[in-house]
Every structure is written in C-alpha cells, then in structure tokens.
C-alpha cells in the first residue's frame, strides 16, 4: 500500500523541536519531495516560525510543502459527538438522561488528549498517503510519550477484555444450545468492536515500531536537564519497542560548556545543528540558515534522508 514516511520530532520543551521539524520539512520540499508538516503540539509554534496564520487545513508554504496545526479540541468534540449519537440511538428510552451534560464532563477526561492526537495521526496517515513525508512536530515529552504508548497500553486492556468477552460468548452459546437446540445466535457487537479496536491499535503500534515508515528524531540542547530528559525518553520508548533514529543536538554554541555526552546515546547517530545568530522566523531566515550560514545542517539532513529516499515515491 502506498504510504508516506512519518518523521517525528520530539524532546523537552523549548529545545527547538518546531524549528528542527520546519528546517527538515523545508529541506525535503526543496529537494523535490511532497511534504506535509503537522504540528501536534497544542501550543503551536509553526505559525510563528513561518510568519503565517496556519490552521487545521493544509496551508501552502512552498511548492511541495504544506503545513497544518491541528485543533485538538475539534478532534475531541467530533469523537464525542459520534459516541453521543450512538448512545442516543441505543438508549433512546432514556429521554430524561441529560447526555449533553455528561459529555461536557467527559470532554475533560484524562487520556482524551493523547487519543485526540492519535486520531489526528491516523487521519493524516490515511488521507495523505500520496505524500512522500509527513513531518510531525510533537508536544513536549510527557504528552508525546503518552501518545506513543497509548496503542500498546490499549492493547493490554483490549486483549484482557477480548478473552473475557470470548468466555462470555462461549457460555452464552452453550446455554443457547442446551435451551434452544442450536438456534442461530446473533453476532456479538461488543466482541466485533473489540476486534476492530484491536486491529486499529495494532496498526498504529506497528507503524510506530516499523523503522521503514517511521523515523523519530530526538531534539536536545547542550544543557544537563535536556540531556537527562532525553535519556529518559530513549528508555521510555525502548520499553514500548520504539527506537530513536537520530538525536539532533540543537543550538550548539562553540564556547558554551556542553553536557552532551554522545557515549550516553552510543548507538544513535547524532546530527549537530549550530545555534542560529538570528531568530529562525520566516521562510527567508530558515532558507538562509540551511543555505548560507550553516550548509552543514542541510548536508546532514540530506545524509539522514538518503536511505529514506528509496522508499519515497519517485517523482
């Protein structure tokens, strides 16, 4: 199946995830690829970086590059509206039941935030499969790790619920066989939905774990806090069988003391992005940074995308 390659940029808050994802997206688009840059960070920065008003619809930045800032609340609202519709249909006799009130509270349930990001991710994977690259600017660590962990965590529950439901159905079938002598049983809707959920979660988990279609870039700075948090991110994702493909040592300054120790991340290639002398705001600044000031950044990006090019669709 034709599919875009997913590039994720994650890391501690303020390390420059949005700038790195924007530089990457611009570099890929300039080398002739079709790229969609998506901000999954609820505190969006891409509008500021490109000096454009971005929203939930794709906005053209360059030939071959479009950008989107997702509206998380919009995804949650749409999801809950659908559930509410189904509940109203099933429990139509509960006319006194104030569903709107309950769903206004459910909207703030813990866990819905990362599920909204996951729904958005699945939407982009399904609807933008004709793109070469989907570049995701991720939220800071806590939410990003929850996002990557949600499919695996859900699967643990789903497997248990599946076994229990199967036992219920087996017993129900036994009773029906004895009582009603092999009368045809109605298919269990709950089991069918559990199966659908299982396959959805497995698909997303497989995408996250598949190094052919997914590359995760961990952005960090020279300071000790950023270094320590990055180490924890690598460990947390390793628990989910997800590996980091590149570390971007961002905002490097020649005369500033550096806590970065590449031995800590022994087997992960490191890309070095120097600190820009001027703020990276606006397309001119981004292109200048890639072309004139720090051509080495572009060459590093090209080098790490080279193996991906063979998977990307030919022009």
């Amino acid at each position: 199946m034709a599919r875009a390659i997913n590039l994720f940029f994650m890391g501690k808050g303020g390390v420059g995830k949005s700038s790195c994802s924007a530089l990457n997206a611009v570099s890929l688009a300039e080398s002739g690829h079709k790229v969609l840059l998506v901000s999954l960070d609820p505190a969006h920065n891409l509008s500021d970086i490109f000096s454009l008003k971005l929203n939930h619809k794709p906005t053209k930045i360059l030939p071959g590059l479009k950008a989107i800032e997702i509206d998380q609340n919009r995804w949650i609202k749409a999801y809950l509206k659908d559930i509410q519709r189904q509940v109203k249909k099933t429990y139509s006799y509960l006319s006194a039941f104030n569903l709107d009130h309950y769903f206004k509270i459910i909207r703030h349930s813990p866990g819905l935030e990362e599920y909204a990001l996951l729904m958005a991710f699945r939407y982009f994977v399904d609807h933008y499969s004709d793109y070469d690259f989907l570049v995701f600017d991720m939220p800071p660590t806590a939410l990003a790790v929850k996002f990557f962990g949600l499919p695996s965590l859900s699967l643990i529950w789903i497997e248990q619920l599946y076994s229990l439901r199967k036992e219920i159905i087996d017993k129900r079938e036994l009773i029906t066989r004895i009582r009603l002598l092999n009368k045809e049983m109605e298919r269990d809707k709950v089991l069918r939905r559990i199966n659908e959920l299982r396959s959805e979660c497995q698909d997303v988990r497989d995408i996250f774990q598949d190094r052919t279609w997914t590359r995760i870039h961990l952005v960090m700075n020279s300071d000790e806090l950023s270094h320590a948090e990055s180490r924890r991110i690598v460990d947390d994702l390793a628990d989910l069988d997800i590996s980091i493909d590149y570390i971007i040592h961002n905002k490097m300054q020649p005369h500033v003391p550096c806590s970065f120790n590449s031995a800590t991340f022994a087997d992960i290639p490191v890309l070095e992005f120097p600190c820009s002398e001027s703020p990276l705001i606006g397309m001119d600044a981004l292109q200048r940074f890639l072309d004139a000031d720090h051509a080495r950044v572009r060459s590093q990006l090209h080098a790490c995308h080279m193996p991906l090019k063979s998977f990307a669709r030919p022009d």
């Binding site: 999801y79 809950l80 559930i83 189904q86 509940v87 249909k89 099933t90 429990y91 459910i106 349930s109 813990p110 866990g111 819905l112 599920y115 949600l150 965590l153 859900s154 529950w157 789903i158 248990q160 619920l161 229990l164 439901r165 036992e167 219920i168 017993k171 129900r172 036994l174 009773i175 004895i178 009582r179 809707k189 709950v190 939905r193 559990i194 959920l197």
Partner: protein
C-alpha cells in the same frame, strides 16, 4: 381418546425436557451473569470510581453495552445480600 392421550403425553415430555434443560443451565447462567457483570465493571468502572481502561475503549464500547449497564444498576439492589443471592442460585432453603 387415544389422540388426546398422545397429545397430553407429548406435552408432558416436552415440558419435562424444558425443565431439565433449564435446570442444567441455571448455574451456568448465573456464572454468565457474573462474567457479564465483571465485564461491565471493567469497561464502565470509571463511571463508578473503579480503575478503568484508556477512556477511548470505555467510550467506544459504551453504546453497545446496554445489557451490562442495566445489570450494573440491578446489582445495586442485591449487592448488600450476596449470601441470599447465592442460596437462591443454588436453590437452598
């Protein structure tokens, strides 16, 4: 007369068979009800303060779990008399 007797006998055997089948599955039915109750608590437990799966699993399954929800409501009535319920299930007394 003979036809009348035959019909009565058939009805008698059919009823006996149904009673036997009913008795044979009554304990399994109780067990099934308990399993369904556990399933309901597991999926919808967050609405009554129990640990629950990720919220999207509960929300996705909730519209299909009318039976389990009703059972949870009914269980409230018998929750404080588990021994009486057990005796009733085992047909004691």
């Amino acid at each position: 007369m003979l036809r009348f007797l035959k019909n009565k006998l058939t009805l008698f055997f059919k009823t006996s068979e149904q009673v036997a089948r009913g008795k044979a599955v009554s304990v399994i039915e109780t067990e099934l009800e308990e399993l369904e109750h556990i399933f309901g608590i597991l999926v919808l437990g967050s609405y009554v303060g129990m640990p629950s799966p990720p919220v999207h699993i509960s929300l996705d399954l909730m519209p299909l779990m009318e039976r389990e929800l009703i059972m949870m409501m009914e269980k409230i009535d018998t929750a404080n008399e588990p021994i009486a319920q057990l005796f009733s299930t085992l047909d004691i007394g």
